[in-house]
């Protein structure tokens, strides 16, 4: 496995970027709700401001534009109890959240790539349902909301990407970074022309041929999601409306394909003629009720085909040259990292990390009380609490409470406690699998031990836990279950004798079990195997090279399937084929232990482990 070049997915970077950006702004302004929005790849700067000003110039002054701060609370995003107003009025009053406030307008997401999964899910859910459902702080209500999103993707480097769930719902993906701020922005579009288009947008009809053509183009370009062709159709309707027509023509369809489909291409269609699926295939599909029979008019087919070709060709021309290669890399990487989910990689803890909000909870176990939120929670209940005799609340000692009738203090009860939650990157568990067989002992087991010690030091710095598995003779042993105690790991390793057969498969199975358990606990496992790869004991304990090696490779493939990052250190005197094959099966980084001094070794290991680190962070 090699390190992948940085990918530049999804965004065309060619010269007519401005025209794409202007079109996106116009179309979005015509109907923000049904087009979802625009993902703008741009760092903050004059070009971005220029574009945003342009977009706003197409919107009526009264149109709400709301900005979602990066670490927005649920309270502000969704809405909930308006404490100040509630206390003043003496009855519960709700506050609308940003999502509801953006109704009929635009929601701006700066730094979309850094939004956490929960926030993205809330925004997407509001977009899908055209409403935001709130069940918070004693309130339950549904606010209608219809907004378009302008998300700014400011990602640097490859380990940040805009949330795919959001990209899937936004019609346009534009790129402004390549545009010089001095490049003149010129368009004849105005608020009036957009308003005219908005009026007739509802009446624009789309023919079946256009639907077929856009669906075909999406499929030919390898766009899996069905939202893309749907958004392309809506974009085509907006284009027609902008042109003052109520029917979508070939030009609209082609331009829509360029704007919506091209930036999402994951493959370049080989040839429009032979690549397309035959059109007459819906036999196994139940015929849609009362729908016109499409295959009836054969004469139309030629015309339909022609339109499909034109649309596809237009879209294809808009795919920037570099995108395809970059996307293939991206895809391969995603396939590898698939099983390492976000939830496991980033954990919510009570102790440390970035605060991500509060929740009701009990004190203890290191939970940190959020005083303001606790007081807020207690505030509305003061009247009712004062009225009742104190004895009923068993968590309050009467001796400490002020006497009824006297000056009352704020009564805070256990139910009010709010604790701050923090988000923390999950710890990594590094599992060392050491081959202590006779062949390995001959081939520098001592040096392998030295290498492990170097890695242990590295783990110590990162506060990882480590586990140690050794295999020799006919068995594999878990010498050390995952622990933070590196001293113990060191002792175990030092006392490890060598000799006997090489039951590689057993060793790997033991490591896989630990990796699985670590993952269940929300940790990220990393496996480091030190072996010469010369397996000679099969899984069932019988000797024999071919079977032992086959078993070993089978076990190794499990790691690749599970998406566990791994490293194979070849301890044989000369880099051996077996270990390389093993690394390949595991999807591991392969590192032949060179005949070198400690410093070189350390450098090599550090380079490799940092590669693993990048890999796994990207996979998230």
């Amino acid at each position: 496995m090699t390190l992948q070049p940085p990918a530049q997915p999804l965004f065309p970077g060619d010269a007519d970027a401005w025209s794409v950006a202007i079109d996106a702004a116009i179309l979005l302004a015509i109907n923000p709700q049904s087009l979802g929005g625009v993902m703008v790849r741009a760092r903050s700067g004059p070009t971005r401001e220029q574009w945003l000003t342009l977009l706003k110039s197409f919107l009526r002054r009264s149109t709400p534009v709301r900005r979602v701060p990066i670490n927005v609370t649920d309270e502000r995003l969704l809405g909930g109890l308006d404490l100040a107003a509630t206390l003043k009025a003496g009855r519960p009053l709700a506050e609308r959240g940003l999502l509801a406030e953006a109704h009929t307008g635009i929601l701006i997401l700066p730094s979309a790539e850094r939004l956490d999964g929960g926030t993205v899910a809330r925004i997407c859910s509001a977009m899908d349902q055209h409403a935001v459902a709130v069940a918070r702080d004693g309130f339950e209500f549904v606010d209608t909301t219809d907004f378009g999103v302008v998300a700014f993707d400011e990602s640097y480097g490859e380990d940040e990407t805009a949330p795919p769930a959001l990209i899937d719902r936004l019609a346009f993906l534009i790129e402004l970074d390549s545009i010089s701020p001095r490049h003149p922005l010129s368009t004849t579009a105005s608020l009036e022309s957009v308003e005219r288009a908005r009026e007739i947008f509802r009446d624009v009809t789309v023919s079946d041929d256009v639907i077929t053509a856009l669906c075909g183009a999406a499929l030919a370009m390898g766009i899996v999601s069905l939202r893309a062709p749907m958004l392309a159709i809506t974009a085509a309707r907006a284009l027609a409306a902008y042109d003052g027509r109520t029917d979508v023509n070939e030009t609209d369809a082609s331009r829509a394909a360029q704007l919506v489909l091209a930036p999402r291409a994951t493959q370049i269609p080989s040839s429009p003629e032979d690549d397309r699926e035959p059109e007459s295939e819906p036999e196994n599909d139940q015929p849609p009720p009362d729908e016109p029979d499409e295959t009836a008019e054969d004469a139309d087919l030629g015309e339909q085909q022609q339109l499909a070709d034109v649309v596809l060709e237009a879209a294809q021309a808009a795919i920037p040259a570099g995108v395809l290669a970059a996307l293939q890399v991206e895809k391969a990487r995603r396939a590898r990292g698939k099983s390492s989910g976000r939830a496991g990689a980033k954990q919510k803890t009570l102790h440390k990390g970035r605060p991500i909000g509060v929740r009701r909870g009990q004190l203890g176990a290191g939970a940190r009380l959020n005083l303001i939120e606790t007081l807020r929670a207690a505030a509305p209940w003061q009247t009712v609490r004062r009225r009742e005799p104190l004895r009923t609340a068993n968590d309050q000692r009467p001796s400490h409470a002020p006497q009824a009738g006297g000056r009352q203090r704020v009564q805070v009860r256990k139910d009010d406690f709010r604790i701050t939650r923090f988000k923390n990157h999950a710890e990594t568990t590094t599992i060392f699998v050491v081959d202590a067989s006779g062949s390995s002992a001959l081939n520098r087991l001592a040096e392998a031990k030295g290498a492990v010690e170097l890695l242990l030091a590295d783990c110590y710095v990162r506060r990882d836990s480590v586990a140690l598995v050794a295999f020799r003779g006919k068995i594999a042993e878990v010498l050390l279950p995952p622990t933070r105690s590196l001293a113990r790991a060191k002792r175990c390793l030092a006392g490890l004798p060598g000799g006997g057969g090489t039951p590689l498969a057993l060793g790997l199975d033991a490591a896989a079990a630990i990796a699985d358990a670590a993952r269940r606990k929300g940790q990220t496992p990393t496996v480091i195997v030190l072996t010469d790869g010369r397996a000679n004991i099969a899984r069932d304990g019988t000797p024999g090279r071919p079977k032992a090696e086959a078993d070993g490779l089978a076990s190794a493939r499990g790691f690749a399937t599970a998406g566990v990052s791994s490293l194979v250190i070849d301890t044989s005197p000369q880099p051996a084929q077996q270990s390389a094959r093993l690394a390949d099966a595991m999807g591991a980084v392969y590192l032949p232990l060179p005949r070198a001094d400690a410093a070189t070794l350390k450098a090599a290991i550090q380079a490799t482990t940092s590669a693993i680190k990048t890999e796994s962070s990207v996979a998230r």
């Binding site: 929960g118 859910s125 055209h130 069940a135 899937d168 499929l219 069905l226 976000r342 009225r387 499990g558």
Partner: protein
């Protein structure tokens, strides 16, 4: 809230629709998990189910819409008089960002503030009693809410102890969750709570894709006409569902089918008895939906992937997907018999 897309208008995704109908036929099957690609109509299908469910009889005035047939409602004084009402089967959405007090129920804020009284205001769990509780993006659900759900789902009862209030009420519901596996995995305990699980994939053949897109376009452009067009189809499904529910009690499962179910679970090495039980319940509901009086091997085979897919242990030696493994096991368990029959 936007209008609901008709259930019968959903193109393809037969497995997902089947799983939902099975859960609607026999609520004891234990919930449906729908995991898969973006934009495949996961939440559309679940929400559409609400429009299909036949009404249920409830004790008049009961906040928890208890079943009058059970005669155990203690929430209204008049329960014994036998007054009943009909209500639609609830399909309750658990919105993202919901706070615990609204999920389990809490003190009524309005009455506390205006009248200074303590009164219990039932939460989402109470509303979902005898119906469905739908959690979109279930893998993003906060851990403390997952704990509450697991607790209530296991006991069928919601116990609230706060502010000096002590309330317990029945909360038996079908848990329906959906999500995208890329956003994170589900906690094993929660995964185990779901009776059936469905893997949804985006259709890859052009004709189906065109159909999906076309219908969505029609729905959005003329919602009322679209819904009217599919109304007869929806009613047909509803009638079938109602018939299946009445038939369910009389569907027999012979010893042979029980044995086959057990053998299938053994071949797959599923943990615990829950898998086997769910498999049989689902097969029985499947038979009821098909209008059959007896569970056959075919029913078993059709529901096997739904009931067992998420119960397989991850096998490091087998990189085939769980659906493939189930197919293989089904072939192994059922094939020899069929061959014998053919001879």
């Amino acid at each position: 809230m936007a209008a609901l897309f008709p259930f019968s208008a959903i193109v393809g995704q037969d497995e997902m629709k089947l799983a939902l109908l099975i859960a609607a036929t026999d609520q004891s099957v234990g919930g449906v998990l729908v995991f898969g690609d973006r934009g495949t109509g996961k939440s559309t299908a679940v929400r559409a189910l609400a429009g299909l469910l036949p009404a249920m009889r409830v004790v008049k005035g009961c906040a928890y819409h208890c079943d009058p047939a059970l005669g155990d409602c203690t929430h209204v004084d008049t329960a014994l008089c036998g007054e009943t009402d009909t209500k639609p089967v609830p399909v309750v959405d658990l919105p993202l960002g919901a706070t615990e007090d609204r999920v389990v129920g809490a003190l009524d804020l309005e009455r506390a503030l205006t009248q200074g009284e303590k009164a219990f205001e039932p939460g989402l769990l109470a509303r979902a009693h005898r119906g469905f509780l739908y959690i979109d993006e279930v893998n993003l659900l906060e851990d403390h809410l997952v704990d509450v759900l697991l607790d209530v789902a296991a006991s069928g009862e919601n116990v609230v102890e706060r502010e000096g209030l002590s309330v317990r009420h029945p909360a038996r519901f079908v848990l329906v969750g959906s999500g995208n596996p890329e956003e994170g995995e589900l906690r094993p305990q929660l995964l185990d709570r779901f009776g059936l699980s469905v893997d949804v994939k985006t259709p890859t053949d052009l004709a189906t894709r065109i159909d999906v897109v076309r219908r969505r376009d029609q729905f959005e452009r003329d919602t009322a006409a679209f819904i009217a067009r599919f109304k007869p189809h929806d009613s047909q499904i509803r009638n079938n569902l109602e018939a299946a529910r009445t038939r369910l009690a009389h569907v027999k499962a012979g010893d042979h089918v029980l044995e086959m179910g057990a053998r299938l679970c053994m071949a797959l090495g599923t943990d615990g008895l829950r898998g086997e039980l769910t498999l049989l319940r689902a097969a029985r509901a499947m038979a009821a939906l098909d209008g059959d009086g007896e569970v056959t091997e075919t029913h078993l085979q059709r529901v096997a992937p739904l009931a067992l897919r998420h119960r397989l242990r991850r096998n490091p030696l087998d990189d085939a997907g769980s659906s493939v493994r189930i197919d293989r096991a089904v072939r192994d368990v059922f094939a020899p018999r069929e061959e014998r029959r053919a001879v």
